[in-house]
Symmetry: C3
Subunit: 334 residues, 3 copies
C-alpha cells in the first residue's frame, strides 16, 4: 500500500514538521534530482493556475515530468463500487486509477465538491476512490481540504514568527459574492491547531461553522497540544491580541446546494473584510489568505500590500512544500 | 516521404510482429534515450486521458518531449485542396501540417469522425490530409481505426496465450446508451485476422456489420493466413470454445447521423453484455475491452475483475507499443 | 527591473538586428543549453497552435521547460490598481504576476483585445499590468502587437532579399468574413519602417487606417531611416514595383465593437485578395502572411503556393526568433 497525502489529519505533527524542514531545504536549494526519470499525472477536475504551475515546475526541478490532465474536459468518473454504469459516467475510478498507476509514479488530484449534497461530498468521493484503487501514491491538490496550502501557510508563518507554539491564530470568515468551498478553511483549522497555536474561528453566526469533522479534529488537536480552539462571532474579541490573521470565505453549509439562499445569508456580512482598523487591534499580526483573493472585498489593499502581508510568500511556498510532499510519498527525501 | 503509422493495414504481419517484439523489450527496459532532444506534437481534435498520458510519458522515457495541442479548442481545419475558405475553417491542413513539420519531429493525431456523413468520414479526411502534407511521420492516435490499441491488445493476448495462430477470437458488439465510433472494432478485426486467429464477429443483426473496407480486409487477412472470419448473430455459437472475447459497442452504420434512431435500434440488445454465463461457454477465454468501459453495461463486474480479464494489461501496454511505433517511424529502433 | 519584450517600439534597430543575427545562429544550431533548468509560463488568454508549439519546443531546445496555462479556462483577471473586486474577476494581476514570478524565470503572455472598447484596449491592459507587477521578464505572444511575428517576418525577408534597406514593402489589407485584430498589421508597419524599407499601406479607405500610435511611429521610423511611409487606396499604385507584399485583414477601428457594421463595411472589398494578376505588377515580389490564412479569400492558392511565398518559412522562423528573444531578456545570449 502506497503512502498517500490526502489530508494532514493522517500525518503526525512530527511528520509535518519534517516536511516543513525539507521544504525549507528545498527553498534554499531548488534543484535536486530526487525523482529523475519519474512522471506524475496532475489530474484536474477543476481548473488551476498556481497549483498547476507549482507542481509542474517542482517536478521539473526534481528531475521528473508532469502530465497535466484536464479531467473536467473529458468525461465524468464513476466512484461507486458495483455501479450499473448506464448514466453519465463513461469510466470507473477503478480503471482510471489502475491504468494511470501503470503509466506514472504519482497521481495528484484536484476535485472540488459539487456543492449539491454535502452528506456525499464530505466523504471526498473522487479522492477516496483514487486512493483506494491506485497502486502509486496520491497527493491531494485540493478537494474538501487543501493540505498543500496548509504546509505553505505554516512555512510562511514559521518564517515570520519563528516557533508557532502558543501564538494566537485567527481564522476569519469574509464575504464573497459566491458561496465558496470550505477546503482552505478546514485546512487552516487543522494545521493551526495541530501546530500548537491558540486558534480562534471568527464567523458571522453558527451557520458558518465548518463541518463537525474539522471542528472536532481541531478541538482535539488543540487539546493534545494543550491549547485552545475558540469560536466567536465578535470581531473585536477575535482580533484582540492576534499574532496571525488568516482570511477565507465559504458558503454556509446548512444551505449548501441553494446558492441564492447562501448569498442572501452572506450579504449582510460584508463588514467582515480585513482592514487596517481591525488589524490595529492585533499584536502586529501577519495577514494571509490563499490566492486568488478579491481585493477590497476580502481584505483592503492596505492590508494586502502591508509589510505584514504573507500572501505572496505563502503562494511561493507552494513550490517547495509540494516538492517535499512528493519526495516523501515516493520515498525520495534526500 | 516519411513512413507513417496510419493503419495496420499498411504494415505487414512481420512488421507488426517486429513492433510487438520491440514493445516487449521496452516493457522490460522502459528508459532508452532513442529520441534524445526530439519533440512530438500530440494533436487532439477529441479529448483523451490514456492516450495523452501514455504518449507523453513514453516520449519522456525515450528522451523526447511532447507538445500537447488541444486542436478542438482552436479552430476548424480545412482539408480540401483548392477550397475557397470563406466558411468556418480558419486554417488549411496544408499549412498546419507543414508548419508543425518545421517545429517537431513527429505528429500524432486524434480525430474522430463526426458521425454525420460516413461516405466522407470513412476517408479519414483529417488524418489523410496531415499525412499528405506533413514532412515528418504521422502516428494515428485514433480516427476511424485505432492501430495503437490493436498493438496493445495483441501484446496482451500474446502474453496471455503465447502464439495466437488458430486461437478463436470473438469480437462481440455490446450495448451502450450512445452510438459510438467503430474505430476500435475495425481495428480489432484487422489485428486479429492479420495475426492468424480464427475470428468471429458477433452482432445483433446485419445493420451492425462494420464498413465493408474492414469486413473485406479482415476476410482477406484470414484467407491469407489460412484462417476464417465468421459473422454470427447467435450468442451461444459465438462464445462456444472461444479463447479470447473482445467487447466493443458501436452505432449501426446505416443509421449514422440519426442518433435517436441508432439508440432505438440498439435498445433491445442490452443482453449482449459480456457476463459470467456467456464466459462459461468458452475455452476459459480471456476478456478484454479498450478503456473506458461502462461496467455492468458492456461487461459485468465479475468478468471485468476476473483473473482472465486483460483490460488493465491492455491499457498498460499502450505505453510500450507506442514507444515502439514512434521509434520505428523515426528510424530509431534500438 | 527586468527587460521585457512587449513591443519592438522599445527596442532599437541595432538591438533588433542583434536578435535576428542570434536567431540565424539558432536556426543553424538549434540545441543550445542556454536556459538549463529554467522554466517559463506561457499564459494564453486566447488559444494558439503555432505560438504554443514554437515556444514550447524552443524552450526545450534551450534546456528549459514550458508551463502552459490556459488562462481563458480559469478566471478573469483584474488589472486596475485599487479596484473593488466585487465583479467577475477573482484575481488581480498584481498577485498573478508576482506569484508566477516566484515559480518561473520568464512569463510569456497572449492576450487579445476584446474588440469592445478601443480606448481602453489600445493601452494593452493585461500585458501592461503583468509588466508592471512581474519581477521576471515578460514576452509578448500577441496582444495589440505581435513582435515575435515581426522578427519572424524580418528573418524571412532578409533570407529572401538580403539587405532590406530601400526595398518596397506593401502591407495590404485583405477581406476576411470576421473583423480581426490589428496586431499583426501594427507590427508589420513598425518592423518594416524601422528596418529602413519604403513602406506602402494599402487599404480600402481611411476607416481602415491603423491606430494613430502605429501610423505615427511608422512615419517617424521611416523618417529616421530616410525612407517613406505612404498610404494608398489604389491597388495598382501599391503593387507597382513592390519587392515584398504582406497581407493581413483587420476590422475598421471606428466601428470596433459593432461586428455587423464592420462586416457590412468590409463586404465590398473582397477584391483586395492577393492574386497572380496583382503580383504580376510587382518587382517579382515575395509574398507573406502570418498563419492561419484563409486560402482563396486572403490570397489565392497560386500566390500562397508559389516559389516566392514565404508563409511557411516565416512561420518556421518563429522558433529561432523566439529563442533569441528569450535568451536576450534572460541575459543568456551565447
Amino acid at each position: 500500500m502506497p503512502r498517500h497525502f490526502l489530508t494532514t489529519a493522517d500525518w503526525s505533527r512530527a511528520e509535518l514538521e519534517a516536511l516543513l524542514a525539507d521544504a525549507r531545504a528545498l527553498k534554499a536549494s531548488p534543484f535536486q534530482p530526487r525523482l529523475e526519470g519519474k512522471s506524475a499525472a496532475l489530474v484536474f477536475f477543476n481548473p488551476s493556475l498556481r497549483t498547476r504551475t507549482s507542481f509542474q515546475v517542482g517536478l521539473h526541478q526534481l528531475g521528473a515530468q508532469a502530465v497535466v490532465l484536464d479531467a473536467g474536459g473529458t468525461w465524468p468518473i464513476e466512484v461507486v463500487e458495483g455501479a450499473m454504469m448506464d448514466g453519465d459516467p463513461e469510466e470507473h475510478a477503478k480503471e482510471a486509477a489502475r491504468v494511470l498507476s501503470r503509466y506514472v509514479d504519482l497521481i495528484c488530484i484536484r476535485a472540488f465538491p459539487k456543492f449539491q449534497n454535502w452528506a456525499e461530498e464530505r466523504e471526498d468521493p473522487v479522492l477516496t476512490a483514487f486512493a483506494k484503487y491506485a497502486t502509486v501514491p496520491i497527493v491531494n491538490m485540493e478537494t474538501i481540504v487543501h493540505p498543500c496550502q496548509e504546509l505553505a501557510m505554516l512555512l510562511a508563518l514559521q518564517d515570520a514568527h519563528g516557533a508557532l507554539e502558543g501564538k494566537k491564530f485567527v481564522l476569519t470568515w469574509t464575504y464573497h459574492p459566491k458561496p465558496l468551498n470550505t477546503a482552505v478553511a478546514n485546512s487552516a483549522l487543522l494545521a493551526a491547531t495541530k501546530m500548537g497555536m491558540d486558534v480562534t474561528l471568527l464567523c458571522p453566526q453558527e451557520d458558518y461553522l465548518l463541518d463537525e469533522r474539522y471542528m472536532e479534529a481541531g478541538a482535539q488537536f488543540a487539546k493534545d497540544a494543550g491549547r485552545s480552539l475558540t469560536v466567536t462571532h465578535n470581531i473585536e474579541e477575535a482580533y484582540a491580541g492576534a499574532d496571525a490573521v488568516y482570511a477565507k470565505s465559504w458558503g454556509p453549509l446548512p444551505l449548501l446546494g441553494n446558492v441564492p439562499a447562501q448569498q442572501e445569508m452572506s450579504a449582510p456580512y460584508k463588514h467582515f473584510i480585513v482592514n487596517e482598523e481591525k488589524m490595529a487591534l492585533t499584536n502586529n499580526a501577519t495577514f494571509s489568505h490563499c490566492l486568488p483573493m478579491r481585493r477590497n472585498v476580502k481584505a483592503t489593499d492596505g492590508v494586502a500590500d502591508s509589510p505584514r502581508s504573507l500572501i505572496i510568500e505563502e503562494a511561493a511556498n507552494r513550490l517547495p512544500v509540494q516538492k517535499a510532499v512528493m519526495s516523501a510519498v515516493l520515498g525520495a527525501t534526500s
